[in-house]
């Protein structure tokens, strides 16, 4: 089982182009399905189609005269030159790159009753620019051609990067609603306390003035990363992020009130404190099957002694997959932890590892 997930995690090259180490499961599928393959690639006798003469149009006849197109081209060049001259003499506007995002700002009327159309303004947002909404305005951003962002009032964000494989913004404060349909890992949000990576999803992210924040996933899943901690938040789950300590434990929002309070207490108290220990006990006691999500994250955030209890509880809910050992998990072996994550069936961690490798390369390049 662990081999299977490792293969998945590395974007199986055999699946891609038949190269690399053959995947026995895919080979099996290929053999089984071969009987459905197209058997005959010999074309039938296609009837002759009379398309009629192509140069029968009057404008083509004119175009075939070599002097007319030359004359037309000369006029076009002259017109282009004149327009360029006129535009360059007009009041200059800031240069625009084609990497900008189009923004639709909506301002509420000061005396509006909430009825009727609100005035809208369209602008183009360029790399390095800041977009800020006030108490009465909201904004809608088309994220290149990969998704949409909605900004609530009192939100401030900066556009850091917009290239073919990566779109990156910084959210300084406020709330954004994100819907992205690009391949996982392409859209990244920097917050004061962590980096938020889209893994194919819709989510809402709120950042307070203090730098603390909260993320709630509606569809797909999202990755949080900071200070060597990672948190994965699947649909229906949420997680806090803290300016001092980075991403908190993710939890399903339908968990009991006690469980959620314990998660918040665990995140906001210091390691080794009595409050944290008590919170940990409540989390272990109250965890349901799907709260394996929280327990899996808890494994890497507690001391080695406490980790044993977390291991026992998680393995009672979701047995560790074949190839995963107790000792390996207790020493936080990454490939075993990854296998166990995949067994939770909340998203393929291979996507995250793929992103992580590209991100590390990107960060190194930036430095």
């Amino acid at each position: 089982m662990s081999e299977q997930y490792k293969k998945q995690a590395e974007y199986n090259e055999y699946l891609w182009d038949g190269s690399g180490e053959p995947d026995a499961e895919i080979q099996c599928l290929e053999q089984a399905l071969e009987e459905f393959r197209a058997t005959s690639l010999v074309p039938p006798a296609f009837p002759r189609v009379d398309f009629g003469p192509r140069l029968s149009y009057w404008w083509l006849a004119i175009a075939s005269n070599t002097w007319v197109p030359r004359f037309a081209a000369a006029i076009l060049v002259l017109a282009a030159f004149t327009s360029a001259l006129v535009f360059s003499l007009r009041e200059s506007t800031p240069p625009r790159s084609n990497n900008g995002w189009s923004v639709e700002l909506t301002e509420a009327q000061p005396d509006s009753s909430g009825m009727g159309d609100k005035p809208k303004r369209k602008i183009q947002m360029q790399i390095g620019e800041v977009l800020e909404t006030n108490r009465t305005s909201t904004a809608n951003i088309a994220v290149a051609d990969i998704g949409r962002l909605e900004l609530e009032p009192m939100t401030r964000l900066r556009l850091l990067q917009s290239t073919a494989g990566r779109k990156r913004i910084a959210l300084d404060r406020g709330t954004i609603h994100v819907a992205i349909w690009a391949p996982p890992g392409e859209f990244v949000v920097d917050t004061p306390s962590s980096v938020v990576v889209d893994l194919g999803c819709m989510y809402t992210l709120n950042i307070e003035e203090s730098g603390n924040g909260f993320l709630r996933t509606t569809l797909g899943w999202v990755g949080f990363q900071s200070n060597g901690y990672e948190s994965f938040i699947p649909a229906g789950a949420a997680a806090a992020t803290y300016a001092e300590s980075g991403p908190g434990l993710p939890f399903f929002e339908d968990a009991s009130q006690q469980f959620r309070s314990a998660v918040a207490q665990f995140d906001s108290t210091k390691a080794g404190s009595a409050q944290r220990g008590a919170a940990e006990q409540v989390i272990l006691r109250q965890a349901r099957l799907r709260d394996g999500l929280t327990l899996w994250h808890l494994l890497s955030r507690v001391s080695e002694v406490d980790r044993r209890a977390v291991y026992e509880r998680l393995s009672a809910l979701i047995p560790p997959p074949v190839g995963t050992t107790r000792e390996g998990i207790l020493r936080l072996d990454r490939s075993m932890l990854d296998s166990w994550w995949n067994a939770l069936e909340l998203g393929d961690i291979g996507l995250w590892r793929h992103w992580e490798r590209s991100w590390t390369g990107h960060e190194a390049q930036q430095k």
Binding site: F36, F51, P183
Partner: protein
């Protein structure tokens, strides 16, 4: 005597190398296709050259077959492949960008599959022959082995993007780069579709396996 045999061996080795190179070129040409030569054939077909259109058939029949197989009964697919090309032939002149032939042809195939499905629904005395991607698919080919039909059924209920890409890869034996070149999808999209589709297929197959095991247990108890 020894010199002669050495010379013969050297000549044989050169011939082997040459045949390997030729074989490689043929495989590359037939599997990946060269967009430029596709465009040349498309332009020739637009001038009424049916030979050139035949070449396009050889290159794209597998893709069309795969797209149709994801939507209609296996036994109908071969006929429908020809129908797709017969539909495309008189309209190929309307295609402005010759390099988009693959995606244009794929759209025709998808539309034909929809037409086929509608026709079979309105046909009097219709039995549930046609495959509706939104429903659980009917067992389509009784002559096929049970496992293969089960697997194909599982692929057919995947979302469209995953379904097509997986069928082209697993059934038609096309590689990712070839799927990208033929369908006009970006290599990145094909890669993601293959990966996610395979992930979903694994889950569906595992689910079916569990169900079959529990059914067989029930039968034993009865």
């Amino acid at each position: 005597m020894e010199a002669v045999s050495l010379r013969n061996a050297a000549m044989q080795s050169r011939l082997d190398f040459r045949s390997r190179v030729l074989e490689h070129l043929l495989v590359t040409e037939s599997q990946v296709g060269l967009p430029d030569s596709d465009a040349t054939f498309v332009r020739a077909a637009q001038r009424g050259d049916t030979e050139a259109f035949g070449q396009l058939y050889r290159r794209y029949a597998r893709m069309v077959h795969g797209i149709l197989l994801g939507r209609v009964r296996h036994v109908e697919v071969e006929d429908l492949v020809q129908e797709v090309f017969l539909r495309a032939l008189p309209r190929v002149r309307e295609l402005r960008d010759a390099s988009r032939f693959g995606s244009w042809l794929a759209a025709i195939a998808r539309n034909l599959a929809i037409d086929y499905y509608r026709r079979s629904q309105t046909r009097p005395g219709r039995t549930d022959d046609a495959f509706d991607p939104d429903e659980q698919p009917a067992k389509s080919n009784l002559s096929s082995s049970g496992d293969a039909v089960e697997i194909l059924d599982c692929i057919r209920i995947l979302p469209e993007a995953y379904r097509e890409t997986l069928i082209l890869r697993l059934v038609e034996g096309m590689t990712g780069p070839e799927i990208s070149a033929r369908t006009g999808l970006s290599p990145g999209s094909v890669r993601v579709n293959l990966h996610r589709g395979m992930h979903q297929l694994r889950r569906k197959l595992a689910h079916r396996e569990l169900r079959n095991v529990s059914n067989s247990k029930n039968r034993t108890m009865v």
